[in-house]
């Protein structure tokens, strides 16, 4: 029979604790929160019978993206970035836009899909891609990117469905690819 050594004053049960990492990022829209207006100039608006701000700079803080929204923004950034765009990290991004000028082949769809999965896996460890779909503006496209040419709207929406650590539900990031002519 094995003996159990018990140190006086210590409990024999392992205490499991979790450390929640908070995700918080800057909102890239850079829209300021309503706050102080610097050097304001107001004018009386007779129609609304109120003073209206006509000049001045809103200097409120920027909005923040928090929790899952921060991760979604990050994934969107990866999808929208091409090779050589990020300084000193030349192969960062899914490089999707560069595909616009490539010849469309049978394997193009798979190529885009694998690029997306690979780059998200590499640069956004908090997210895991579960599905990549190609849509017309409101209709899922059949398999095979060659059919793209026949789409009347000249646009393809790439929907990337992914999971985020510590969240049960899936999230979706979209990239709109348009042909002008």
């Amino acid at each position: 029979m094995a003996l159990r050594r018990v140190t006086p004053g210590l409990k024999d049960k392992t205490l499991a604790t979790s450390r929640v990492r908070k995700n918080s990022d800057i909102d890239l829209l850079f829209k300021p929160k309503p706050g102080v207006v610097q050097d304001p100039v107001y004018r009386w608006d007779p129609r609304t019978q109120r003073m209206v701000l006509i000049e001045g700079q809103m200097i409120g803080d920027v909005y923040k993206k928090e929790d899952a929204a921060a991760v979604v923004q990050s994934v969107e950034n990866i999808l929208l970035t091409n090779d050589f765009e990020k300084p000193y990290l030349p192969f960062f991004g899914a490089n999707i836009r560069s595909m616009l000028f490539e010849t469309v082949e049978n394997y193009t769809e798979e190529l885009v899909r694998s690029e997306i999965i690979k780059s998200v896996q590499l640069y956004e460890p908090r997210a895991t891609v579960v599905n990549v779909e190609f849509w017309d503006s409101n209709k899922k496209l059949p398999q095979g990117m060659v059919i793209l040419r026949e789409q009347i709207h000249n646009s393809v929406v790439i929907k990337v469905e992914f999971k985020i650590d510590n969240y049960q539900e899936s999230f979706v990031a979209k990239v709109n690819m348009n042909r002008l002519r």
């Binding site: 990492r21 908070k22 995700n23 918080s24 990022d25 800057i26 909102d27 890239l28 923040k64 993206k65 921060a70 923004q73 990050s74 994934v75 950034n77 990866i78 970035t81 990020k86 300084p87 000193y88 990290l89 960062f92 640069y123 956004e124 460890p125 908090r126």
Partner: protein, 637 residues
């Protein structure tokens, strides 16, 4: 939340800067996504880090470009050198000395005295199917004295031969305005500033006809020995864009300046630098007229006295960096020995490969009141050119040296080094065969000597050479080498003569080896092939005078002449002095030197084979003919 510390922005590297910013954000605690490259915050950090990185680089470049030792851009180096009063060399025209004789016997109406202005003697030279133009830059004069034969000489130096310079003559005119301190830019990077002639005409009318009513010739500031309010001086120097800019004094500090309405004429040679060196033949390119009568080319004789030499390209950045501080230290006067080297090199750099000057008091045979100069000339210079340059150097020393100090030329003394190199070689560690490895080792040894010897004040270090040998290939495991030094002397054939050679280092004492310390190459004496060596079986007295006499038999300092079979032909032909490195050969009558050579090699084993230092006028060179390498095949690793 911890209090944010200051951001360290002194890092140059982008990644370090970004890490610093992340550290700052980590401490602020407001944003957490800085570690994810896709995050918006990461994009902002990229911009900030990139901006800081760029600013840091600009600051670094700016600082580097602010100092002569670190500046990389030519405009910066030129500008910094000029702040030390150093004007970098422009392209230099190749020059040659010629005689010009015109036979005009029977041609009526010619004046007795004929003058050729600068640019009126135009010659053509050809090299590699490219034509070059040579022209005179000094006025030439000849007096036929009723003979009808005109022999031209320089107007200012009738005893000197005529000098012609390579280049196509160009003129650039500027009208002087009312602005002060005007800079006149000559838009030509191929100008030779030394042969440029700057004339200032009174007005535009007088400038139309060269030699017309009124013009003054200005002098280069660098050639001026005195400056007063009446001096007419100019400065022509390289501008940041590679062109040349001309400036004058302001009427006070550097003598007279041109006034408004004057016309400044810059007459210069657009030259091709060193490409025009080593041309051996010049012919007349343009007709010559005397008293407005054109002389038939058949009656004009141009004789070259020297091949063309002295052409050079713009001074390189590294040369400017090296010379400017010395030139500044010299302050345009010759006081220290370095001043002599610096000023001579500045003036005659296109003729000189290397120069060394030292005071007479430092010479092995002290000669007070003298300055010794030894020069390694550039390849291809003939004797007459060297003589001309030496004259120029003496004239320069007369202008700039301290009174009562004389300049004395000493030829460089070359000491040759031959090496016997053995290296251990493991064939299993390489795919290259033994003979290829051996030739690679030999090539590396030759390269070591090429890079480290051949100039003054250079040192041969055996360990450095062996490092190069070891680095030839991983299969070369180790190496060792013996060093032998060598001087060459020209024997006076069939005359009994004394010879003395001084090596730049101490020599091995006789009893350090059973083999000869001193030996020579073969020569003929009394119809027998023989050589000199120090005696190997001599009776050497071991005790002082007054003590019981004891001898030993072995090598000594005495020299003998022996045949290849070891038969002694002359018992005592001189002696060598190990400490002084001196070998004295007395009363040797050499009949002939076999092998088509006119010199005898005198070999010596140095006391310290690890290092040979060249001092004063000594130069070390490699003698591959007497060197050998041997691969010793081993199986160890």
């Amino acid at each position: 939340m911890t209090t944010p510390t200051t951001i360290k922005s002194s890092e140059l590297d982008f990644q370090n800067l970004k890490e610093t910013l992340k550290t700052f954000l980590k401490q602020s605690g407001e944003f957490h996504d800085y570690d994810f490259e896709g995050a918006g915050l990461s994009n902002i950090l990229d911009v900030l880090a990139h901006n800081t990185h760029l600013m840091a680089l600009i600051a670094n470049f700016s600082l580097n470009e602010s100092y002569l030792v670190t500046a990389q851009l030519r405009p910066s180096v030129v500008s910094l050198a000029e702040s030390l009063g150093y004007i970098p060399d422009s392209k230099k025209s190749a020059e040659a000395t010629v005689n010009l004789t015109i036979n005009a016997v029977g041609v009526p109406g010619l004046a007795e005295v004929a003058v050729l202005q600068p640019g009126e003697l135009v010659l053509r030279g050809s090299k590699d199917d490219i034509d070059y133009t040579f022209t005179n830059r000094d006025a030439l004069i000849a007096n036929a004295q009723g003979t009808g034969v005109y022999t031209f000489t320089p107007f200012d130096a009738p005893d000197e031969p005529i000098k012609v310079y390579e280049g196509v003559e160009r003129d650039q005119n500027f009208i002087v305005g009312t602005e002060e301190d005007t800079v006149y830019v000559v838009p030509d990077p191929s100008i030779d500033i030394e042969t440029a002639i700057i004339k200032v005409f009174a007005d535009q009318g007088s400038s139309v006809v060269d030699g017309g009513s009124a013009f003054n010739i200005y002098t280069n500031l660098l050639d001026a020995t005195t400056i007063d309010e009446a001096s007419r001086l100019y400065v022509l120097r390289e501008a940041p864009n590679g062109y040349y800019e001309l400036t004058f004094g302001n009427g006070n500090s550097l003598g007279q300046a041109p006034t408004a309405g004057n016309v400044v004429n810059v007459n210069y040679l657009r030259n091709r630098g060193k490409e025009a060196n080593n041309i051996r033949s010049l012919t007349l390119k343009q007709p010559i007229s005397i008293s407005e009568t054109e002389i038939s080319p058949d009656n004009i004789a141009v004789t070259m006295l020297s091949t063309t030499a002295g052409g050079g390209d713009k001074e390189t950045i590294e040369s400017i960096r090296k010379n400017a501080p010395f030139q500044y230290a010299a302050q345009n006067r010759m006081v220290t020995s370095l001043d002599y080297s610096s000023l001579i090199l500045k003036k005659f750099s296109t003729f000189i490969e290397d120069i060394k000057s030292w005071g007479g008091e430092d010479d092995p045979r002290p000669d007070y009141g003298k300055v010794f100069t030894s020069i390694v000339w550039k390849e291809g210079l003939d004797n007459s050119t060297i003589t001309e340059v030496r004259k120029g150097i003496i004239a320069l020393a007369d202008d700039f040296s301290i009174v009562s100090f004389d300049l004395k030329f000493t030829d460089p003394a070359t000491t040759y080094i031959s090496t016997q190199t053995f290296f251990q070689f493991n064939p299993s560690m390489t795919g290259i065969n033994s003979s290829t490895i051996r030739s690679n080792v030999e090539r590396n040894i030759a390269k070591y000597f090429e890079e480290n010897t051949g100039k003054f004040d250079q040192v041969f270090r055996r360990s450095n050479m062996l490092t190069v040998v070891d680095a030839t290939d991983p299969s070369v495991l180790s190496s060792r080498s013996n060093t032998v030094i060598q001087r060459r002397f020209l024997p006076l054939l069939n005359y009994e003569y004394n010879y003395e050679q001084t090596f730049p280092t101490a020599l091995q004492v006789p009893d350090a080896s059973a083999e000869a310390t001193i030996y020579s190459s073969l020569f003929t004496y009394k119809n027998q092939i023989c050589f000199i060596r120090n005696k190997l079986l001599d009776r050497v007295r071991l005790t002082e005078q007054g003590q019981a006499t004891q001898f030993r038999v072995g090598p000594s300092r005495a020299l003998e002449v022996v045949t290849q079979s070891g038969r002694v032909l002359i018992e005592n032909v001189g002696e060598y002095f190990p400490e002084q490195g001196r070998v004295v050969i007395s009363g040797l009558r050499v009949q002939n030197v076999p092998g088509g050579k006119n010199y005898i090699k005198l070999f010596a084993v140095p006391a310290n084979q690890s290092v040979v230092v060249s001092e004063l006028n000594n130069i070390i060179k490699f003698d591959p003919e007497e060197s050998f390498t041997k691969a010793i095949v081993v199986e160890t690793r």
